[in-house]
Amino acid sequence: MKKIYLGIDVGSVSTNLIAFASPEEMLASVYLRTYGQPIQAIQEGLKQIVTLLGKAEVAGVGVTGSGRALAAVMTGADVVKNEITAHAVAASFVVPDVQTVVEIGGQDSKLIILRQGVVTDFAMNTVCAAGTGSFLDQQAARIGISIEEFGPQALKAKNPVRIAGRCAVFAESDMIHKQQQGHSLEDILAGLCEALVRNYLNNVGKGKEILAPVVFQGGVAANAGMCQAFNRALNIEVIVPKQYNVMGAFGAALLAREAKLESSSFRGFELIDRHFSSNGFDCQGCANRCEVVEFREGERVLARWGDRCGKWSNAVAV
């Protein structure tokens, strides 16, 4: 039986899992919506991995994404890494001489600068989510096209309209205005892509030196309109890797492999059928009123987090 490495990326919008025996050959890749329920998403993802591969022996598990703490406790992960590192590792595996990674996901966007294979600088969006996947989703839904059609439609544009990209709310009112003026849908979509790229370069890029090769990854990289807008704005042909939407999970699995473990602390595929639950309560210990999260398997408390003083999180051995 093959020994596989698992990578799990629990993001705000999507939960992705990948499995490989050697990183050159991806055995399984699962892309799921999180729908605000990371526990169910992880279980569903693992179920699909089992369906695809059978109950393979797991040599290592890496987790990343904003839900990494929960995923780590739940699965018994060997490596828990932040998204920036995971994405950088994945990108430099796919394109070894990569100097810039543009990653745009559901709720956040990142820019990672690498030189000679080492991360030298990075940035994440801070105050604005205008350029991220959720906003594109929302606009596609408003116009009544599927997100899959968005890119191809934008590519047909002859004369992209100018849309203010500083703020999602203003971008939307600008779009509506242009629509009512009678501009074609293609031109508006392409204009929106250009606005979002400008927003990204101003808010996240902020004067950082963007050099080729540029790898563009994350769910939004599926949008051909966004790729074209980046190509034009940077004057560089961006590279979209084949696994663009699961690069975080891929990076996490690579890190698990790099850790060269004797044996994995993975808690087994049985956890698909176990009952996990989480609930929160406000600690009344002081005026901080920390929102403590309690994570349980059946009746047993696996972990608590969210307290500032450590009163609860130290109470359970993790």
């Binding site: 932040n82 920036i84 590192t85 080492v118 600088d121 005026a287 920390c290």
Partner: protein, 360 residues
């Protein structure tokens, strides 16, 4: 007269001693918590920077404990702190919250401005006031001596949290202490206990300098316990901002032989003059940290802080000239800690990666 003052890290220990030495009844506001922030934010103008809002929260919480007079710091430089006291006074007045506000700030015209205010406050002979001041000074030194130990030992301890527990206990002892001798004993014994704690490593994995605006650097509630987070990752935090050094630099004009910032020597050619707040010092300290061979620098500032924005804008040049990575973090009302944690972890990985490349 029951006096209170705003919180900034452990400064309460020092101010309490000083004001009590003047013969005043002192009401220390409850420690800064999310509640403090919430009630401050509710009353303050949205575009004001964070310290003003948290201060307001402190005043309102102290009011419910019976305080009727505020001793507030001011300033005459380009930083907005010069306006704080005035705005806060207006806000409190509008709310119908009855407070007298006394603003201690560097004299604009004549030294007598400060003198008159102190004379107005004091209830005991000057000799007693001076004694209180000297005791407060020794407390500042004791607190900072411990703080430095804590920063060096956090990354080494086997079970994160034990050093901090001893530290918290010692701060309360320092608060209660009444003589230099007692203070020495507290520091000596606490350090011995901290050093004896079980360790998981003998050297920190990385050493990161912290620079920036003094309030965000010194108040853990506002910087979301940045130093504790870094310590738990195995990072030794190094900084040049300490309250005792601040007193020495600003009140004693640097006559005591304590380490100082020397921005005037280090910050040029990146930044050639004072820009308000600690902007100049942030740049100078970053250069100093590069020379000390630290692995990276984190700059902290409240969102919209003008002096630090100026410093931020020259940081890329400092970074390029010294090769020292700098990450700037703006702090505001948000209490979501995941974003900060992710950035810290990513910065940590990046520095470790670079370090590995240099040595390996």
């Amino acid at each position: 007269m029951k006096v209170t003052f705003p919180h900034m890290g452990n400064v309460w220990v020092i101010l309490k001693t000083f004001l009590a030495g003047m013969g005043l009844e002192v009401i220390v506001p409850p420690p800064c918590t999310r509640r403090t922030l919430e009630i401050g934010v509710r009353q303050a103008p949205e575009s004001a920077c964070l310290p003003l809002k948290v201060n307001l929260g402190n005043f309102l919480e102290a009011k419910s404990l019976g305080a009727d007079t505020i001793v507030m710091a001011g300033g005459v430089g380009p930083c907005r702190i010069g306006y704080y006291a005035q705005i806060q006074r207006e806000i409190l007045q509008d709310m119908g919250c009855d407070y007298e506000m006394i603003v201690l700030e560097p004299p604009d015209v004549h030294l007598s401005e400060v003198w008159d205010k102190l004379k107005y406050l004091k209830r005991r002979p000057w000799r007693k006031v001076l004694q209180g001041f000297i005791l407060a000074w020794y407390k500042a030194c004791a607190v900072d001596a411990l703080e430095q130990e804590v920063m060096a030992l956090r990354p080494l301890e086997a079970k994160p949290g034990l050093v901090d527990a001893l530290y918290r206990k010692a701060i309360l002892q320092i608060d209660a202490a009444g003589s230099k001798r007692q203070l020495r004993k507290i520091v000596r014994e606490t350090v011995a206990e901290m050093v004896a704690l079980p360790r998981q490593r003998e050297y920190p994995i990385l050493r990161i300098g912290v620079v920036g605006e003094i309030y965000t650097v010194l108040e853990p509630m506002v910087n979301l316990n940045l130093e504790k987070r870094l310590g738990a990752m195995g990072v030794e935090v190094v900084r040049k901002l300490f309250i005792s050094r601040w007193i020495n630099d600003n009140l004693f004009k640097g006559i005591l032989p304590l380490p100082s910032h020397h921005a005037e020597k280090l910050a040029p050619p990146f930044l050639n003059h004072f820009v308000g707040g600690h902007g100049w010092e942030s740049v100078g300290d970053t250069v100093a940290f590069a020379r000390q061979g630290l692995d990276g620098v984190i700059q902290l500032a409240p969102l919209t802080c003008m002096p630090e924005i100026v410093a931020h804008s020259v940081m890329p040049a400092v970074q390029q000239a010294t090769g020292l990575p700098v990450m700037t973090i703006y702090l505001d009302e948000q209490t979501g800690e995941a974003g900060l944690q992710t950035r810290l972890e990513a910065f940590f990985d990046m520095l470790q990666w670079q370090k590995g490349k240099r040595t390996g």
